[in-house]
Symmetry: C2
Subunit: 350 residues, 2 copies
């Protein structure tokens, strides 16, 4: 089934040198300068003649590094076990998360390729044997995206022997020391509150999911209550509303709501339409993430924009530094959000 592979040894014997010389010429650039140019040329010719191809698996094995970065995407560590089910694919397909993941992935790819690393997505990186799979030598480091901060996950992270960078999570959530990149949810929510306040809104609620997707959702909620007063909004915890609680949301007690992420806003818009609530005239809605999904909604959704691609690139930068042992104290990088005004917000009509 296999065409028998041409090995270093084959090239060596054809070139009349030892295998190690071939290795130096063909693979190890740092040492190749210590080979006579004539010899090197002979080796290259022999390799060419024989159609030599480096065996990456052998190199990975021998050097104990794969130049590969694994990506763990999902709503908590149970995700990959559900594949085939499949939560993973559902979310990839869904415009909301899939859209934001695409941008983040793009940043990760740019960062990884820049450093000469490949990206791997595996079905068995986690699951029942998470501790094992994460450290089994298939990748040099991991980017963790969008994780729950449960104690079980924290335990897994602590056991992992491979460098990890968290995206959208703080190491403190897991009670461990890991580098992380995160957008400034506090500042982002501040932009939303400021936007609505400047439009003249005074009665603003915060709409979320009963079971938050991850820690960021709570951060955003807290940020709302921490800053609302500073912008002249009189709110208390009763103004944190479940997205299913249409009676409250559409009670006309509010002239605007901020949602914990775009998906919640996308959920509200058709519900509002069904009740004859006009957006933005009767109710302004602000999302969070500002993915392309916002442009698909009618009205298009005003939303806080996360610098997702930047997050992805910096996550890989940190990871590569961590792999190289250049990270003494794991930093937590926070990037400011932007704000995209679209059609779903306007001054209050009443």
């Amino acid at each position: 089934m296999f065409a028998l592979a041409v090995t270093l040894r084959d090239v060596a014997s054809r070139a009349g040198v030892s295998p190690i010389v071939v290795s130096r010429v063909l693979h190890n650039k740092a040492l190749s300068i210590r080979v006579a140019e004539a010899t090197a040329e002979r080796v290259r010719k022999a390799a060419q003649d024989l159609g030599y191809v480096k065996n990456v698996a052998a190199v990975n094995f021998r050097t104990r590094q794969t130049l590969t970065i694994g990506i763990l995407h999902g709503l908590g560590f149970d995700m990959p076990t559900a594949v085939g089910g499949s939560r993973y694919s559902e979310f990839m397909l869904e415009g909301i998360i899939g859209g934001s993941f695409r941008i983040l992935l793009n940043g990760i790819i740019i960062g990884a390729f820049h450093h000469g690393y490949s990206i791997i997505l595996c079905p068995k990186l986690l699951g029942q044997t998470a501790e094992e799979a994460m450290s089994d030598g298939r990748c040099d480091g991991l980017v963790l995206y969008n994780t729950d901060h449960t104690e079980a996950n924290a335990e897994i992270l602590r056991k992992c022997t491979v460098p990890i960078v968290l995206v959208h999570s703080r190491a403190s959530y897991f009670d461990c020391k890991l580098p992380s990149v995160i957008c400034d949810n506090h500042q982002g929510i501040g932009l939303a509150v400021e936007h609505l306040a400047k439009l003249g809104h005074r009665r603003v609620g915060f709409v979320k999911e009963a079971r938050p997707l991850n820690a960021e959702m709570s951060e955003r909620e807290d940020a709302f209550f921490a800053q609302a007063h500073a912008f002249g909004l009189n709110v208390d915890r009763s103004d944190s509303i479940d997205r299913q609680d249409f009676d409250t949301i559409f009670s006309r007690r509010y002239t605007a709501v901020i949602t914990s992420h775009d998906g919640v806003a996308g959920f509200l818009i058709p519900a509002a339409e069904a009740r004859g609530i006009r957006i933005p005239e009767d109710l302004s809605i602000v999302g969070f993430d500002s993915t392309s999904y916002c442009n698909e909604l009618r009205p298009t959704l005003t939303s806080v924009r996360q610098p997702l691609q930047v997050l992805g690139e910096h996550a890989v930068d940190l990871l590569v530094q961590s792999i190289r042992g250049e990270l003494t104290d794991p930093p937590q990088l926070t990037f400011p959000c932007g704000f995209d005004v679209r059609e779903s917000t306007s001054p209050p009509a009443h």
Copy 2:
């Protein structure tokens, strides 16, 4: 830097057996039944005690398989060298191709995970040393997405020793025998022509890019001319128009145009608006791909829908069969398109 790894040997000596027995118990499920249950239990306990973790790199090396599938995405083989540049990231980011790639990728992931394979994206899969990198043992097979059918690429494909499946390309383009999955462009264009004909359009043009992205664009154009007459449209090759040729497109010679892909339609819509051409009243526009991008356009874009996720899943199915040597004659699977009517088409106003 490394915590010294626990090996099979360590587990073996602790359990009082030979390494191969440990291997059978822990890794090779097919053979593990040939181990006494008491022994197996002892081995598992020893592994647990020592915190043994399988070294995947070693297994990959030894077994000459990685259970990994590589994805080559891009407009021709020069793509990855441009990364960092970067065409790859541009297209990932762009709604048009990025959107369709996301769905395809989702299908590939579902298919791969289903078969227990991982997905890898590498910066060096192609480029100057394409022949080498494609066969260097880092993956068991490749999915090629969206390639140009140049002779140079054909040559590279012929030299590749790793199983390949083409997506959106026919093996015949490359004059080689490879399995492929493709959507039925002919049938898809037929749906578009039929839709417009039934609305009453008689003067329909085909708008494309001067330099087609890939072979499919030409297929779609050919399909248009092959089927237009059957639906009562009187067209000739002069009705194939460059997307830059606004004078012709908006000359009111046409009541409708079919575009070679959604991106072209997205390019026309603002141009029409700038000229006071109303869509769909003055000009109906049909796209091709029907990604979420269509929902972002105003008006939303009526478009032929490719079964991208299905394509991705079947591509992997074929690839896995090919890897296992179960594919005697490489098949070409063609999947029918659907059609999504949105706002950009209506009966002609005149």
